[in-house]
């Protein structure tokens, strides 16, 4: 099973940085489905879920930026209250740390994207609980 890939990039925590990255993706004709920005002090890390992670990563590197692919899990959930909570409960029950979580809706389907401490274990646990963990090609991007 292959995990979903996010493109993570190093940025400075100052105005104009998101625009700098999104412009590169737009020029490369890459669609952004989801973006997370984490910042502390002078630094930021941007994570993108995109239609073509390899291409996006290369597009950043070609501009001299630092980028790498990181694993994430994408899970399809019911679009109703408590959707994310069932996942969080399930992971907590197995002592798996949730580093980052977000979601999006596409064509009336709801998806949760998470980064956890142990992706293989998390995938197994979630699947055993009946969740549908998606692979990259299955994502509606």
């Amino acid at each position: 099973m292959k995990n979903v890939k996010l493109v993570a990039a190093f940025a400075e925590n100052k105005p104009g940085q998101v625009a700098r990255f999104t412009q590169i993706l737009a020029q490369a004709n890459i669609n952004i489905r989801w973006l997370a920005v984490a910042s502390t002090g002078p630094y930021g890390v941007m994570k993108f879920l995109v239609s073509d992670p390899d291409l996006a990563c290369q597009a950043f590197k070609d501009k001299g930026l630092i980028a790498k692919l990181v694993d994430a899990l994408a899970i399809e959930v019911a679009d109703k209250p408590g959707g994310l909570q069932t996942i969080a409960d399930c992971l907590a029950g197995h002592n798996i740390n949730l580093d980052n979580a977000s979601g999006f809706i596409k064509n009336d389907r709801a998806f949760v994207v998470i980064e956890v401490s142990e992706h293989a274990l998390a995938r197994e646990v979630l699947q055993n609980h009946g969740f549908r963990v998606l692979e990259q090609p299955e994502l509606p991007l």
Binding site: F10, S39, T40, Y43, V45, K47, L65, I66
Partner: protein, 430 residues
């Protein structure tokens, strides 16, 4: 391999006799022709005849870069203006440069010492030499150019910069050795990486002579690794011919200083006294063969030490250790004396950060060390970036005893230089 085996392996007693004889001749000439030295000798009460042994060298006056500036343009010339064949200048950050004259013999000697130095590293006439130093008033390019021509190498006078063309020349003419500044060598390595060129596969590079700026052993390793070649350390200064004053042999353990042309002393820069053998201090040099502009006890401001033990290569000329810093570059931050090279050493040993750095001094003694992040140092977590920053600050503190602020930057954020890198930006309001 030797260029001039007899002189390179001359026994020490004969070398010292030769030095004394040449020193006496030099002193006689400056006493006869250079008013600056006539006045200095009069002030100190020394006459050329007083110089009976090499130990008497200490009685002679120092010459400083300020003296060179004060006697600009022709005050230190020891031959008629008509007999000067070449003018070089040494860059000054403020005001007038230092004017340095060469006679025909001086130009030839400078090339000769470079030829010796190149051959000592294994260079032969089969080699192809791409010279990336600045041609022009600076001695760096022209003197090595002549040296490589003496050896019979194909010389490509590329000059610095225009990395695309540099790469094309290397590929098309199968360049085997370079003469380059450390900062440009590192830039070139990054350039090749970005353009998908593996120097170990596509190129014929074997050696690089790296000099003109002091650099650390860590930087040397980094250049060797990234360009896939052997780096030979070299030392020179325009006041003493330019490059080829001292050069590493194939042992790569200290730079043989050509003592038939120069006498080196190591002094305490504060007191001016000679330090005990093997100890670190400021390098002071006296020319023994220069005709147009001989200099006595020139204060180089470079901090180093001399290695006097025999070298397995057979050369008897003493060796100069890596330059630890320039006493002019010394910074005083919060009362602590430090050299930029100490900071460089810490950064170069760290795999997560890049090759370019800058030291910014602002406000009231606030020091920020700016360095570019490398892919290896990025784990896609913002906490890890803070951790790396704090780790570097702590490492720097243990090296320089002052804890600087560290700032990680995206690659390409810091200015790159084709020539001498400007590492310290001092905007303090003290």
């Amino acid at each position: 391999m030797f260029w001039d085996q007899a002189i390179e392996t001359i026994d020490r007693a004969a070398l010292e006799r030769l030095q004394l004889q040449r020193l006496q001749e030099t002193v006689r000439r400056v006493a006869a022709h250079v008013p600056f030295y006539q006045q200095k000798f009069a002030e100190l009460g020394v006459k050329p005849g007083d110089l009976r042994s090499l130990a008497d060298l200490r009685r002679l006056p120092f010459t400083t870069s300020a003296d060179l500036r004060a006697n600009y343009p022709t005050g230190l010339l020891a031959v008629p203006y008509d007999d000067a064949l070449r003018l070089h200048t040494s860059s000054g950050t403020t005001g007038k440069p230092k004017a340095l004259f060469f006679s025909r013999q001086d130009v030839d000697n400078a090339g000769e010492l470079c030829a010796r130095s190149f051959v000592a590293t294994g260079v032969t006439k089969q080699d192809v030499f791409q010279n990336m130093m600045t041609y022009g008033m600076f001695t760096g390019a022209l003197v090595t150019h002549y040296g490589a021509e003496k050896v019979g190498c194909l010389v490509i006078p590329a000059g610095p910069g225009n990395s695309e063309r540099q790469l094309m020349l290397m590929q098309d003419f199968r360049t085997t050795f370079l003469h380059v500044t450390p900062s440009y060598a590192l830039y070139l390595a990054t350039f090749m990486e970005e353009h998908g060129v593996d120097p170990r596969r596509g190129l014929a590079l074997r050696k690089a002579f790296v000099g003109a700026e002091p650099y650390t052993l860590e930087t040397c390793r980094k250049i060797e690794e990234s360009l896939g070649l052997d780096v030979y350390n070299s030392y020179g200064l325009s006041e003493m011919n330019g490059p080829g004053v001292a050069f590493e042999c194939e042992q790569k353990h200290g730079m043989h200083l050509w003592e038939d042309h120069f006498i080196a002393e190591i002094i305490d820069p504060q007191t001016g006294e000679t330090v005990p053998e093997g100890e670190t201090g400021e390098l002071v040099m006296t020319t023994l063969c220069r005709e147009a502009m001989p200099l006595l006890r020139y204060r180089t401001r470079d901090i180093t030490s001399l290695l006097t033990t025999p070298c397995p290569c057979g050369r008897t000329h003493h060796r100069l250790n890596r330059i630890a810093g320039r006493s002019d570059d010394m910074l005083i931050v919060r009362g602590v004396n430090l050299y930029p090279q100490q900071i460089e050493r810490v950064l170069m040993a760290e795999p997560g950060v890049g090759r370019n750095y800058q030291i910014a001094l602002e406000g009231l003694d606030e020091m920020t060390v700016k360095v570019e992040l490398e892919e290896a140092g990025f784990e896609a977590k913002v906490e890890q970036l803070m951790k790396l920053q704090n780790h570097l600050a702590e490492k720097l503190r243990s090296e320089i005893l002052v804890k600087p602020r560290v700032q990680l930057l995206p690659p390409g954020s810091l200015p790159v230089s084709d020539g001498k890198a400007r590492r310290v930006i001092d905007n303090r309001k003290l």
